[in-house]
Amino acid sequence: MKFLAKRIKGNSLWSDAMRRLLSDRLAVASLIIVFLFLVISLMTQFGIGIDDWKVVIGASREAPTFAKGWKFWLGTDIFGRSMLLKALHGSYTALFIGVMSSVISIPIGMVLGAIAGYFGGWIDEVITWLYTTVSNIPEILLLVAISFAIGSKGIVAVTIALGTTTWVSLARLIRGEVIKHKSRDYVTAAEAIGGSHFRRLFIHITPNVLHILMITFSLRFVTAIKSEVLLTYLGLGVRPGEASWGLMIDDAKSELVQGMWWGMAGATILMFLIVIAFSLLADAMRDAFDPKLRT
């Protein structure tokens, strides 16, 4: 029996995909960047190695210099606080919004899509109607409406607004995949041995569509980070006094005219790095899980 178990183990979809992913140099580099951002955000939260950004360390509006230690690499803001520290703390805000909005939207999209695809009939029609309707409200308007409704601005409001608007594409994809899977032999086999609907849907089918979830997560992350900046600029996002790339770029409106380019540069570069890492990662995962799509 032990021998048999070993033989059956073979190559799964996941191990194949992981092998392809790890042989892709760009994908590995993106993974490392994402991991670094994760470490930095945790360090800012627990105060390990990265101090509070609200501490005054120098004169107002000091230009970047390498002579006075790493905190001055990106100069200081109008109050003499380290711009680099502010930008690093901003990566926590960005990751928080990205992760938490996905925590809201992924279960909604996943469960609704799976139920619609699996049961079909009127349940499918109602759910399809719901997500078609939501997807027909232009996204920026829906974001505006929800941020307006939540009223209390700030990180939490942005997160809820993004979380409740971005589940649609995931629901649509999962529904399609579940429809493809539900008539396959392994599901019929699970039914034959007495598996309940719940078991068949969530224990048997769901693991086979999980890769879609990971790709969607990466893409949603990019949308979330970009939307945070825009919503903040429109006055619907993060409140002044918090560390956010959106606020830093927004501050640059008046700073640039005074020749102060480093705040905008720091926020833009960090944002560029994480956005490009997640975009490349999403592309690489799509290729790794579905080599047919490779162009």
Binding site: N136, I137, S279
Partner: protein
């Protein structure tokens, strides 16, 4: 085709329901805000009655549906202007801001899309795709700030902000935001068109055309591009409502009084009827153009049947 059109009705109905729900969980009483700080409870109550806020929820919802159907949303809380008048005026301004750069973007990206698809998997393709991915990873706000700083502030080529309502005077204010729109929109458009055109390359008819001995150029121009134009054109229709809405960011930044600017102002002034009108009108425009685009698709491409 009729069925496809009818399908729009439950969607629009659903959208009014969702939007009404969203706007009615707003904390804070608009009547209190309108009455001002020193209002008596009686004054607040009379304003509430005037706005119809003391009526039951379902009555308020029917009122909203009626407003949507008759396209009459009453007056703005803050400016007291007729909302539809504001809307049409703003739509004209937004269109003159976005339509010219949008058309330029489409043409330029089609050329680039065709170029990279033709030279697929060579260094030309790879470097243009890499540039587009990089371009898409920079915040739109950073483009706006950089363009304004260099073109308007440093080199004095355009006015920094402002607007002139006359048809001749407005263009000097609209050129710079237009350029920014092109810079931001080029990357996603090029990637999108590249995918569409590449999709066609792997179709059987292309293999047939090659087998007939046609040169790669003829295959590209006479076969691939002709077929790729179908999704391109139908997609353009779907993009239109986003144009009417203009760009919230550009309008706010350059103080251009278009629809986007009206929306942003309404948010700051907590002007509920204006936001409701803009969102519901935007949604209807989107639904209608989606249906039109599907019908157009079926008309141009006999392989597609509208169900």
């Amino acid at each position: 085709m009729i069925r496809r059109t009818l399908y729009g009705i439950p969607i629009i109905f659903g959208a009014t329901l969702i939007l009404f729900f969203i706007f009615n969980i707003v904390p804070g009483d608009p009547a209190v805000q309108l009455a001002g700080k020193h209002a008596t409870p009686e004054a607040v109550a009379s304003i509430r009655h005037e706005l119809g806020l003391d009526r039951p929820m379902y009555a308020q919802y029917f009122e909203f549906v009626k407003q949507t159907l008759t396209l009459d949303f009453g007056r703005s809380y803050s400016t007291k202007q007729d909302i539809m008048e504001m809307f049409w005026y703003g739509a004209g301004t937004s269109l003159s801001l976005i339509l010219p750069p949008f058309l330029i973007t489409v043409i330029v990206s089609l050329l680039f899309g065709a170029l990279v698809a033709y030279y697929r998997a060579t260094w030309i393709d790879k470097s243009i795709v890499a540039l587009s991915v990089a371009g898409q990873s920079i915040s739109m706000l950073a483009y706006v700030l950089a363009f304004q700083y260099f073109f308007a502030y440093k080199w004095n080529m355009f006015p920094v902000t402002g607007y002139d309502t006359s048809w001749v005077g407005r263009w000097q204010y609209l050129t710079l935001p237009g350029l920014i729109y092109i810079a931001v929109a080029l990357s996603p458009f090029i990637r999108f068109y590249r995918t569409i055109i590449l999709d066609e390359f792997y179709q059987d008819y292309v293999r047939t055309a090659r087998a007939k001995g046609l040169t790669e150029k003829v295959v590209m121009l006479k076969h691939v591009m002709k077929n790729a134009m179908i999704p391109v054109i139908t997609d353009l229709l779907v993009q239109l409502p986003f144009l009417i809405l203009g760009s919230l960011i550009l309008e706010k930044f350059f103080s251009i009084p278009g629809l986007g600017d009206i929306t942003v102002r309404a948010i700051t002034d907590l002007d509920r009827p204006v936001i409701m009108a803009v969102t519901v009108l935007g949604t209807i425009a989107f639904v209608v153009l989606n249906i039109l685009s599907d019908i157009l698709y079926a008309l141009v491409d006999p392989r597609v049947k509208v169900s």
